[in-house]
Amino acid sequence: MAAVRVRVPSLLFSYTNGVKLVEVEANTLGEVMAALERKFPGLAFRVIDEQHQIRPHMNVFLGEENVRDLDTPITTPIEVFIVGALSGG
């Protein structure tokens, strides 16, 4: 398993009680989200819908790469950025 530092956006502070940085260990992006869900129940469904897809207006970056496949492997220590996409009105 690789060490992962997850940067949490303000959108999700209500789930993390304001925690901005979370450290987990995971082999895939899906495992990152599962670990976050264990720590902060309800958070994962705000990022991933019931069809296991990242919601259209959420972006998840592994380092600088925007990824949408939860099976994306994580083999080395890395930072994951969860951010809200530009949208609105």
Binding site: G42, F45, E50, Q53
Partner: protein, 397 residues
């Protein structure tokens, strides 16, 4: 009209908007609370009429998707549902008998919860939720967890009834007007936009269309001369709480009444909107019924001509009331602006159920208008709110 029965002793309105929800005490001078769920879209906030206290709110943000919050202290604290409404995964439909192009096979995702309704008085803790895309969900634990109503969400014909979940309406297809018969706890009525009205007499296990007599001007006449069985666009439907054999609904194609007749071969809607002034027409969103008098209803006509602006007809806002079950109508515009081009959405009109009945409606331009004389005159209650999407009454501490 999304709440035929108001909570006993209602003293407040709950306003769902595009950017949050507000409570407004309705006794004395109107006073808006600080917002709940500020920045979130709030499609509906409803109090349990069986146990005034529990509030449920249908909430979504553009980024984070939909959920349901609940409060048991008049909105001071809210807790998110532990299991919000979710469709089945596409994997669960792999072996279904559905057509290959049935969208359920590709996996539906709840975009927003649109409608909340407490269950029957004999079923405490039961709630129903209608969603977009079209789905019907049920909670048996007072809104904490939700599951799909299988008889509806998994009905093989559902995709045919609702244009295969196509996003035909501007904000997405909706399951709305979830009505629980106050006498028969097994009878449920739901409205699908689009799709039509559907009735269950076994608490949601099986459903049948109930659209006879309803126009469908947006489809060509059937070649065999028969009516369409489904595919209609009801906007707002109600089973009258004082006479559950009397139903009303405002449709995309008119205003209708149904008087249930057990001996009839079919139940048939009558277009009471034909009695509206021709220059006004009978297109609109909300249908509001008097809580005790089954003959008294209110509608808010909108412009359904040319390109369907859906705003006040000729820019002259008015509510229309009938006191004889739609056989005649009175225009009620005293106190309303002489000119305005707002829209009153289907869930944005309500009454407080009181002996001295109060009415309220909210507009897409963020105004609230109230009446204490059953609509004879109207007063401005608030301005400057975000787009009003729903109004209900509540008894708040």
């Amino acid at each position: 009209m999304t709440q035929p029965v108001a909570p006993a002793g209602a003293n407040a309105w709950m306003i769902g908007t595009r950017k949050g929800a507000w409570a407004m005490k309705s006794n004395g001078r109107p006073h808006l609370s600080e917002p709940w769920f500020f920045g979130h879209q709030v499609h509906h906030v409803v109090q349990d009429t069986r146990n005034p206290g529990t509030l449920l709110a249908a909430v979504r943000t553009g980024h984070l998707g939909p959920t349901i919050y609940r409060s048991q202290d008049s909105g001071r604290a809210w807790t998110e549902s532990a299991q919000p409404p979710k469709f089945r995964t596409k994997e669960e439909y792999v072996n279904s008998s559905f057509d290959a192009d049935d969208l359920r096979r590709q996996g539906l995702t709840v975009d927003h919860v649109f409608f909340l309704a407490p269950g029957h008085a004999t079923q405490p803790g039961v709630w129903f939720a209608g969603t977009s895309p079209i789905g019907l969900f049920r909670s048996d634990d007072d809104g904490v967890t939700w599951r799909g109503v299988e008889g509806f969400n998994d009905a093989p014909a559902l995709s045919k009834w609702c244009y295969n979940f196509a996003p035909g309406t501007p904000d997405g297809p909706k399951c709305h007007s979830v009505q629980v018969d106050p006498v028969n706890p097994k009878r449920l009525l739901v409205g699908l936009s689009g799709g039509g009205l559907f009735l269950s007499d076994d608490l949601g296990a099986t459903w049948r269309a109930i659209n006879s007599g309803v126009a469908m001007d947006f489809s060509p006449p059937k070649e065999d001369g028969t009516e369409y069985e489904y595919g209609h666009d009801p906007h707002d439907a109600v089973i009258h709480p004082a006479n559950p054999r009397r139903w009303y609904h405002q449709n995309h194609c008119g205003i209708y009444r149904l008087d249930w007749n057990d001996g009839a071969k079919e139940q048939r809607w009558k277009r009471i909107g034909n009695n509206m002034p021709k220059e006004v027409g009978d297109i609109g969103f909300p249908m509001t019924c008097h809580p005790k008098n089954p003959d008294t209803i209110w509608v808010v006509p909108m412009d359904g001509g040319t390109v369907w602006p859906r705003t006040s007809v000729e820019g002259k806002p008015a509510v229309f009331r009938s006191r004889d079950a739609g056989e005649s109508w009175q225009r009620l515009d005293r106190g309303l602006p002489a000119r305005a081009w707002h829209t009153v959405l289907r869930q944005a009109m309500a009454h407080n159920g009181g002996a001295s009945l109060e009415l309220i409606f909210g507009t897409t331009s963020g105004e609230l208008w109230g009446s204490r004389d059953e609509g004879d005159s109207w007063q401005s209650l608030a301005m400057g709110l975000p787009k009003v999407m729903s109004v209900t009454s509540a008894r708040l501490d």
